[in-house]
Symmetry: D2
Subunit: 351 residues, 4 copies
Amino acid sequence: MTEGRARIAILGASGYTGAELVRLLARHPRVEIVALTADRKAGQSMADVFPQFAPLTLPKLITIDEVDWTGVDLAFCALPHGTTQQVIKRVFESAPHIKMVDLSADFRLRDPGVYEQWYGHPHQALELQQEAVYGVVELYRSDIRKARLVANPGCYTTTAILPVVPLIEAGAIEPDHIVIDAKSGVTGAGRSAKESLLYAEVTDGMHAYGVGSHRHMAELDQEYSKAAGRTVVPSFTPHLIPMTRGIYATIYVKTGAGVGAEGVHRVLADFYKGEPFVHVLPLGQVPQTRFVKGSNMAFIGVIKDRAPDRVIVISTTDNLVKGASGQAVQNMNLVLGFPETTGLEQIALFP
Amino acid sequence: MTEGRARIAILGASGYTGAELVRLLARHPRVEIVALTADRKAGQSMADVFPQFAPLTLPKLITIDEVDWTGVDLAFCALPHGTTQQVIKRVFESAPHIKMVDLSADFRLRDPGVYEQWYGHPHQALELQQEAVYGVVELYRSDIRKARLVANPGCYTTTAILPVVPLIEAGAIEPDHIVIDAKSGVTGAGRSAKESLLYAEVTDGMHAYGVGSHRHMAELDQEYSKAAGRTVVPSFTPHLIPMTRGIYATIYVKTGAGVGAEGVHRVLADFYKGEPFVHVLPLGQVPQTRFVKGSNMAFIGVIKDRAPDRVIVISTTDNLVKGASGQAVQNMNLVLGFPETTGLEQIALFP
Amino acid sequence: MTEGRARIAILGASGYTGAELVRLLARHPRVEIVALTADRKAGQSMADVFPQFAPLTLPKLITIDEVDWTGVDLAFCALPHGTTQQVIKRVFESAPHIKMVDLSADFRLRDPGVYEQWYGHPHQALELQQEAVYGVVELYRSDIRKARLVANPGCYTTTAILPVVPLIEAGAIEPDHIVIDAKSGVTGAGRSAKESLLYAEVTDGMHAYGVGSHRHMAELDQEYSKAAGRTVVPSFTPHLIPMTRGIYATIYVKTGAGVGAEGVHRVLADFYKGEPFVHVLPLGQVPQTRFVKGSNMAFIGVIKDRAPDRVIVISTTDNLVKGASGQAVQNMNLVLGFPETTGLEQIALFP
Amino acid sequence: MTEGRARIAILGASGYTGAELVRLLARHPRVEIVALTADRKAGQSMADVFPQFAPLTLPKLITIDEVDWTGVDLAFCALPHGTTQQVIKRVFESAPHIKMVDLSADFRLRDPGVYEQWYGHPHQALELQQEAVYGVVELYRSDIRKARLVANPGCYTTTAILPVVPLIEAGAIEPDHIVIDAKSGVTGAGRSAKESLLYAEVTDGMHAYGVGSHRHMAELDQEYSKAAGRTVVPSFTPHLIPMTRGIYATIYVKTGAGVGAEGVHRVLADFYKGEPFVHVLPLGQVPQTRFVKGSNMAFIGVIKDRAPDRVIVISTTDNLVKGASGQAVQNMNLVLGFPETTGLEQIALFP
């Protein structure tokens, strides 16, 4: 490492999660960005693609094949699903010393059959799939510290796992009655030029999408079922909201007898006491996406419903930070042995 | 009536629903606006308050006390909750010939005890409360035709009643398992200068509010319970979305055995066949608020959830049109014996 | 004409201006839409492409080659620049009885050399170019009544021509000192899936574009120079604003001696007195795009600057209505001999 | 200073600029926030007012009178215009050791007569007015280092001074032909609950305001005239844009003979070479507000107009950072002898 800094590569630096990694890492005191790849924009500077970086000194965009892996300690992989598993397999073959934090969905599902069912083709790197550690830090911290390959979780799933898994594990809620009404900002869909993502099609209105078919459900099923010790299949409906960043999950749960909102709140408050990036609000307080925009925080609120055994749990994150690049840096910090919060101290930008 | 046009007064013309009434009625071929009131802005022209009306010829804003009731056939009342019941009582006492369409919540609840419970004081016009007809046209059309006082329903409730009441009545769903995750545009909160409604506090983010306490729940309880023949208490969580207009209700229901999404869809498609202002999309299609913005339409979609007995019903309206002023004009058309769609033919403004 | 209604075709019905034509014409009492074309979406229904039209009965989308021209009285052409001139030439050859209102830029410039200079290729239909009438109704009304081919002007140009041409003609301002700082909503760029038009790239920020190179300048030069009787080359800088609809032109002018803001205001107020779609505000009042959204109005304001001979003239329109489809319908009304305001009475949708 | 950190008070911490100061200072390694005042919200915690700060440890909100000045090294004053001068006078009287960075307009104008003309009353602290240093760091750096009271400049003025003053000083442009068309995000107006700042009144549309009367013009006149050595009175028109943050100034200038866009660009590129917070883009590139959102950067672009002697200079800042709290921290760094960029390294949050 140059001057004791870890040398970092970002594969897929021209998308939104790539840009967010650069934003966070450029001010991280323990790392140095040594390679940025973007196959279709190779040869350009990051400032051509994202002019906000013009004041920084950054390496030029190159293709993945041009990366000199001997000079890299850890790579973030922000490539599309499907191609990712082949790229990472190839990198590990030629450079087994590399650590990888993968932001795609390729290594999140542990069961090869489930992967094939949701993604329509057999996994191309089965051994790595088994090796990968699922990167919800608050649940798998010690495994991540030892990992070579971290599967950074999805934005919807991070937001819906953090408040629910501790409740299932504690037996506080009935796993068969979980309804997740989730709302997402637009950057969750990436920087692809689709008609449905045009300003005039998204602003000043909203709609559900992928109802009953969104792939993040597979991750939810996996983690909820693991917590319950049996198969759990929650209702999950995503909506597209006219906002740039933010996931907002309104989660309807049914508590066990005598638990109530107070019991739910106590489980979560205890579980996340001392966690630097999960803030459980006082009982009855409602979070807003604005509290977390641009920060690595998750805010969780617990509110009584009218019926005594029904509780509403609300969880919110910034899909590009705690839901993607921020959590990826948090994972990197663990993998490289840095203090977990390094480079992630930024507070939400509001207003 | 001048030239055969009904003479219309709008009480509370300086708010958003008042302006929306003017927008709709200014082009209505069977009516003439003869009085516009706004106590605090009396003396100003509508064009001072809403410059988009500058090209129209409209009466000046006056106080309610200045209205000459002998020259009025029907009045829309767009005043705050609470004062409305006193104003309407007084108007009827001095001018019993008047027809009234009230956009406040004052006459929506039939049970005086329920009113007192939700609004914190006894109703001040109990006889009128009993006389009032609840103005969901598609459910109470024949009563509305004979009514002197129509209680125009709330925006959330219109949106959540239209898709659910026919399902309860048909026995297609279990009334005890209804979860309504509702999202609203900002104009639902009116034109009051509150910090929480400032642009910088609302844009590019979202949050729930009034969880477990929103007063529209009383209307839902009333209509759902009436349909079920017993007390029904749905879960209802409203959210504030950065959009000007639009209510979007994602409703999670549990069907009876063998009903499924197809059965739910069939009930709704049959029930609303021929209705001019309710459009049931083909099974599996998801509505958007954009489809109804500026129009009097409700769009309803029915989507299968993953479990066979769970169905997601989505309903959307423009809160200022079908959720307020448009439905009020629809009610007026019935009360005055005009064709129901007169003046309401405008298609959504998209993009 | 069926039942006395003119039979209308819309070429290019799947774009925003096409949809806006359908919105306006569907409620127009003197016309019937008999053909809708969209080459790439032929075979679909308009409701597939724009679900807000689901409640209407409309012809299916077909290709231009499938149109039966014998059954068409007038066609709107909302096709891309360049191909338009060839399509219209071909239609006129096979169906000379057709009237055409063209929304592209192809027939707006009278001088073939200027066309070639700005568009990079010789015009392919020179005779039609000479025949076409430039469709700013308020300036060319009598010519439009007799026209077979109307070149509907651009949105920026309509907005900047209306307030300035009468001032140049009256000698009230110095033609060599006109600075037009123009701002546009996003729909001005159409419904094409480009990265630069994505929600996340447009919302909550702004920028200039096409500085010194925007093609609408050629139209401005043409009309300003015609008014001045000599070459006029204004400064014109367009900006992209996070709003769906709306053009806002802040125009800095220098008046002749003794004219001042009062003189400028008097010229415009006199010129547009009695015009149904141009509203000149009282001196000193500032228009907003909100006053015209969804309507065919232009609002014009005149404000004193600090120096006595400098005046700020502000003009605003909805780029899809007065700046495109509304003005096109206004032109159609003239061409077909209907009252000019028919079908265009809608007031702005605010809020 | 505790542990070598400077002890900082923020007067007026419940507004947007106050919150922005907390955001920036909370991560500043050389300071400690020891007092936060908000007279009307005294007793509450910052997390009550701005929940994004809940994870931080911050002092409670108190009244100004409750501040213990002996424990304060430097105070930021984010109070309303007018009362500020009295508060600061009083603080200096009782605690002359304090350094002050004032974000109000009270000490920006050097000429007492000009102050009285624009603000309608004589200045209440004339000696301090003479002592205050105008805090555009790039112009007055050495004076600021020695200052006790810094008058932090306005957001519009910072944005319009940075690109224009060097051009006037270099004789590159004609001072009598400067037209500034300025656009602002909504937070420039603060957190006051006014109807005109409601979401529904601001979103999806735009308008000019304060045309010919905006008080920031006085600052522009002062600095432009100082640079020119004679009175300069630019045209300045502010507009309200539906965005949270951002100032965008499109400035039309006339160059001296033979200067042109190249000459203008060269002057600015030379002047700002090495400046950490002003980035001059390559000639012809257009800045966007997005490049600076959340950061302390100003981006400047220079573009040729069509006429050879006319040039368009575009400047953009985040009104809450470089236009207010960020520049205030930059001033604090100078006053306290810290490296100028400390705590201000954050890159723009985009998307």
